[in-house]
């Protein structure tokens, strides 16, 4: 069967698409930064923390990684108000995504920490480095270098996963697409445009991460 693609109606609403693209970028950037920070902290607790702290951190990682992101989002957006905490759409979105990414990041970074042999840390201490110095130079940076590919893959996945917040009406890229789709019924055109934009975003992100790699790890 033949289908004639008509992009006019979709491009007529490019403002909405651009706004969505911007929000997706902002969400991704914010969530990746926050999620990374949380992930590193939780990973540190998982590997070097006290047993009780370790157990809490492990519980957090398991619960988040084994349940769907959508459910976590719903709990925060619809569940918290019954406890008296009403977050707006963007705050709830950022919170849910950050908590989710934090767990995945923690799991990846933990593997990185564990790849650093104990002897290296001892060597660092014997060289007279302080605790934070050891953590930074001997543990964190090498660990991150070891897990860099899986870490950045996870970040790209998170960028794609931000589309889930369209369910609670955050006007990001996917939301913009489905609004246009429901108005114009031009499903194929809308999905094509959205797919190309996501692909572009993820390629950009990957390029950005490989630049970062060169900046941080190849002096």
């Amino acid at each position: 069967m033949a289908y004639t693609f008509q992009f006019r109606d979709v491009f007529a609403q490019r403002d909405a698409i651009v706004d969505g693209l911007v929000l997706t970028l902002e969400l991704s950037a914010g969530v990746i930064a926050l999620g990374f920070a949380i992930g590193v902290m939780v990973a540190a607790v998982l590997v070097y923390g006290k047993p009780w702290a370790r157990r809490i951190a492990a519980g957090y990682v398991e619960v988040i990684r084994n349940t769907p992101l959508l459910v976590q989002l719903f709990l925060i957006f619809f569940g918290l108000p019954s406890l008296g905490l009403k977050l707006d759409v963007i705050t709830a979105s950022v919170l849910a995504l950050t908590i989710n990414l934090g767990a995945y990041t923690a799991e990846i970074v933990r593997a990185g920490f564990e790849s650093i042999p104990k002897s290296q840390i001892e060597a660092g201490i014997s060289l007279g480095l302080t605790g934070p110095q050891v953590f930074r130079h001997v543990v964190l940076l090498p660990a991150l270098r070891n897990v860099y590919p899986s870490l950045t893959s996870q970040f790209v996945l998170m960028m794609l996963a931000t589309s889930v917040v369209s369910q609670i009406s955050a006007a990001e890229l996917f939301h913009a697409g489905s609004i246009i789709q429901s108005r114009t019924f031009r499903d194929f055109e809308v999905y094509t445009v959205i797919a190309v934009l996501y692909l572009g975003l993820s390629l950009l992100l990957r390029m950005g991460f490989s630049v970062c790699y060169r900046l941080f790890f190849r002096r």
């Binding site: 069967m1 033949a2 289908y3 008509q6 109606d9 719903f74 957006f77 619809f78 569940g79 108000p81 019954s82 009403k86 759409v89 369209s166 369910q167 609670i168 009406s169 006007a171 939301h175 489905s178 609004i179 789709q181 429901s182 108005r183 114009t184 019924f185 031009r186 499903d187 194929f188």
Partner: protein, 261 residues
């Protein structure tokens, strides 16, 4: 020379392949095959939902049964969602969509709508103490509405500045209103009445009616025989009061006269 020859063959092949003899008429095809494939929603009660035993039921589901019976063919129901109903129709995976679709000229550039078969009205609800009487009064209140529905389209058009929370579906919009994430809820009057019954401590005060919103069936662009048959079917069932019976059964009130398409 050969290059030119190849080119012209390519042109012929292309035009034959892509725009060759028009496909057989869909209406005749349905009769010949003895099966009509109809897409209905299962997530839009009272038009289509699953009962507790997972059987499809609702206005649209019953309507689909009537269409198949009147055509004298077997019914093949396909459950569709807002996100995939058009692709299902456009790629010939269903013949007809019966899914409380509201018509807009913009959508009509892509598919053809039949005469209206169901009469619903859309309204805006909220707590008693809010003084809202028209779209202009919405101000900064957050209004929950399922995205892409007629209520959302109409409200967006009536007041482009309204703070509309476009949720995934009606149930999510209801959750937003019930949890207090939105102050106002735009939905079908039938849904609001049902919800009010189930949530007696939440106020569902009618603020204003958005507009009437008849539902239409949809067929693929160009299927004129089929759309004409469906128009006749709807006309016939209006005259013999079958549509009225469906309205009373599923929507709880008789049909009002509907504008003709």
């Amino acid at each position: 020379m050969i290059k030119k020859w190849i080119q012209s063959v390519a042109v012929v092949l292309l035009s034959v392949g892509l725009f060759g003899p028009a496909l057989a008429d869909r209406f005749e095809e349905i009769i010949a095959k003895g099966v009509v494939r109809i897409g209905v929603p299962l997530d839009v009660p009272p038009f289509g939902s699953q009962n507790v035993n997972r059987e499809a039921e609702g206005f649209d589901v019953e309507m689909a049964g009537m269409v198949a019976k009147a055509l004298g063919v077997k019914l093949e129901l396909t459950q569709i969602t807002g996100a995939n109903r058009l692709p299902f129709l456009l790629t010939d995976k269903v013949d007809i969509i019966i899914s409380v679709m509201g018509l807009t000229p913009e959508r009509a550039k892509q598919i053809m709508f039949t005469a209206p078969y169901a009469n619903t009205s859309l309204a805006v609800y909220g707590p008693k103490n809010l003084n809202v009487k028209s779209p202009a009064d919405l101000g900064n209140y957050k209004v929950a509405a399922a995205k892409g529905t007629t209520q959302e389209l109409a409200l967006s058009a009536a007041n482009p500045k309204a703070n509309i929370m476009r949720t995934e579906d009606d149930a999510t919009a209801a959750a937003a209103y019930l949890s207090g994430q939105a102050q106002i809820f735009a939905t079908n009057s039938i849904v609001a009445i049902d919800l009010a019954k189930k949530n007696p401590n939440k106020e569902f005060d009618l603020k204003f009616n958005i507009r009437r919103s008849p539902a239409h069936m949809g067929v693929k662009m160009g299927e004129h025989t089929l759309v004409r048959w469906l128009d006749s079917f709807i006309f016939f069932n209006t005259m013999n009061t079958e549509l009225d019976r469906l309205h009373i059964k599923w929507l709880g009130r008789p049909m009002e006269p509907m504008p003709a398409l």
